[in-house]
Symmetry: C2
DNA sequence: ACTACTTTGTTTAGAACTAAAATAACTTTA
DNA sequence: TAAAGTTATTTTAGTTCTAAACAAAGTAGT
């Protein structure tokens, strides 16, 4: 019950780095307060990091009424990470710097159903890695649509990919000789939001993605909730309609089977709103052009999502709900149905909960995956396990090949 | 991010006591393993506790192949706690020993809507306390139907009691000069389950209560999830029926407005299944006597609850669901609707999640509230804040008035 | 200009842990 | 019955933190 993971020092040491990376320069005093350690220890740890070349002293910040603070900044060449998005028919890569900025990205066709998936993926990754700059590569984060036993283990269960207990983590690790963290793609996004996005200012929030499917990442007290078997957040399969359409999971009337991109397009085709070959883009275009039928389809989806999210908000009491995913491109149309349904289904005291829709980019999924690597230093609960330790080691030792802790 | 609460020693020290209380005698080696500290430290801490008279050495346990373990047991007169259940028309008290056993209990009529509620409650409590034995009273736990800002603060928001931002915690604390922990009643039950019940063996579980209303307590990684404003677990207000009956919260078709005791009785009366003055007991009796209409009412409630819980299981991925509350007396009848609806609405991989129905007693609510006090020693996250520290202090110092830590 | 007050950062002494070696008290095996 | 193997507990010699005192570097009031 009382938690004391060994090697707290390492955690704190790289929490300093991660925090500076995520939030920009800060003074020793700030860091000590933020990380909840004594100023004395902060002096000592930063001294080591400075002499290791991971940190640099910057200008003085204007005085707050006392001695002005000496700001500390990250030496940006300290590390990079690679994020991978895996879906059924392609993979996407990004390389991010220690501050989360995207340095490079790429996308490759890919077939998740072959028997050689894992070695194929390793090859693609190897090629992408080779193109990178000469900065220590801290690790690889992989986001998959499905549940993952533990980030550091990386055994994947995914109906969407047709994977059953696939040892993605251990295989990539062996092939690439690098720390590999595997996580559900929505949870990875939640980690990214926590590190770089709106979640920086909130300890309890919900990340909801709409697109092909519907998913959620739950952040509680600053940590992503994974549940017993890493399957938390599968809100796409919340039962909504008693005798609804067949869902990919085999059940009928799941939320996803009603508001996923596929079903929406189906309805639009059936209603003659778009052509038989038209896709979600066509449907959105129709709604943008004031087609009542198209608008109604989005609005109804919003209505259903709103009622479902209201239930989740009652269950989890988040401070804020963040909407992400490809589907947000049509959010304007969703919102007509969403807002009234969502608000009116909430208990009065909860009715003010904030809903924010963030801009979405193609590479966002992969960027989220990369955040897994950058987030491990924060990981005092050690969700990432052994791989987390390896990332920390690389962060500190690869950049400072000389002896550490010398007198 | 890196958490280090000051005074870890105190936490560990009383985690020893709480663990021995909850799980019975154990050896130093066991304790060291369970609390994740070194054997060396355990030797030292138990030496202090032994000399303080809080622990006693018991018989040797049979050897496990090596040196036999010397068991340590709690001196049961080390402490007691009082639990209070507050509802609109009465309050119930229990006094529990350090091992969670009920020593005394009482129930008093009470009006939660008067302007003098708080002083009334304090008076009733004072009287109950006075009847107790001469054992250090560690603190008071209070369970309320509503949300509480923080356990240690105890500001209550409850439509059921008609309370708006009532400073229950601070008032009782001032009146009684004792540590007071206030918590939502279902969350308190979840704490009790974690400490003494099925939750002892699970880190992720869900406690669901059925009765007048419907509520849930969510335990994630061993800790009760409270959400942003302490409002997590209000599953009674998950929207279920688009145009359902009016709920106490002002909305229509909430889960609670369909499967709460009140609504079930209403339907039964309307259908002539029980008399106009009959209550839930009459309805249960009818179902027990094979009345099809009565059975159908319970079964339908089970059906709705099953579908709603399936959604929650998808969201949270608990290992086990524990059903509690007055309504469990009729669970046999609920289950005909619950089981098929629940299982069939779950994704195949989740379909095996365990559902356990525990026996329910009148005093269970109050007993749960008392567990708040006994749980604070475990509380390494310090949910209970200042009051937690006070409980810890009383546990160690009241029982050992002589100087501690002497050479 | 001088004093009082704030805030940052450093030093130092000591508290709280741990790891590893030593010791104790068995069981099992030859 | 002695040697080897296990498990429990204690001792010892650090390591890692903190608290508290101090030093540094400003602002603000008089």
């Amino acid at each position: 019950m009382a938690t004391r993971s060994t090697g707290r020092t390492d955690v704190t040491r790289s929490a300093i780095l991660a925090r500076l990376g995520a939030l920009g320069p800060a003074s020793r005093a700030d860091l000590a307060r933020a990380l909840n350690v004594s100023p004395a220890l902060m002096t000592q740890l930063t001294r080591e990091l400075l002499s290791d070349g991971l940190l640099q002293e910057l200008e003085h910040s204007p005085s707050q009424g006392g001695r002005p603070a000496r700001m500390l900044g990250l030496v940006s060449s300290a590390g990079r990470a690679i994020g991978v998005k895996v879906v059924a028919d392609h993979v996407a890569f990004v390389e991010v710097g220690i501050d989360g900025t995207v340095l490079r990205s790429a996308s490759e066709p890919f077939d998740a159903s072959t028997t050689t998936v894992l070695t194929d993926l390793a090859s693609l990754l190897r090629r992408f890695i080779a193109g990178g700059r000469d900065i220590p590569l801290l690790g690889i984060g992989v986001g998959v649509p499905g549940s993952v036993d533990r980030q550091g283990n990386g055994v994947v269960e995914s109906t969407q990919l047709g994977w059953h207990q696939v040892p993605l983590g251990s295989t990539l690790r062996r092939e690439l000789k690098l720390p590999v963290l595997v996580e559900n793609n929505v949870n990875a996004l939640a980690v990214a939001e926590r590190l770089y996005g709106l979640g920086r200012n909130h300890e309890n929030f919900l990340v909801v993605t709409i697109g092909t499917g519907v998913g959620a990442g739950v952040v509680v007290d600053g940590v992503v909730l994974r549940g017993f078997a890493g399957g938390a957040g599968e809100i796409g399969h919340i039962p909504v309609a008693e005798d609804g359409p067949l869902c990919s999971c085999g059940n009928h009337g799941c939320l996803e089977s009603l508001v996923g991109q596929g079903p929406l397009v189906e309805i639009a085709r059936g209603g003659g709103i778009i052509s038989k070959s038209g896709g979600i883009a066509a449907l959105r275009a129709a709604a943008d052009a004031d087609d009542d039928g198209a608008a109604e389809i989005f609005s109804h989806a919003g209505h259903l999502l709103g009622r479902a999210l209201a239930g989740i908000v009652h269950t989890l009491d988040p401070e804020i709900v963040i909407i992400l995913g490809e589907g947000t491109a049509s959010w304007k149309h969703w919102s007509y149905g969403f807002e009234p349904a969502f608000r009116s289904a909430l208990v009065p005291s909860r009715r003010g909960v904030a809903v924010e829709v963030e801009t979405w980019q193609d590479e966002s999924w992969a960027q989220g995956a990369a955040a897994l690597v950058m987030a491990t230093p924060f990981d005092s609960v050690d969700i990432a396990g052994d791989q987390g330790r390896l990332v920390r080691e690389r962060l500190v030792e690869q950049s400072a090949p000389h002896l550490r802790g010398a007198p």
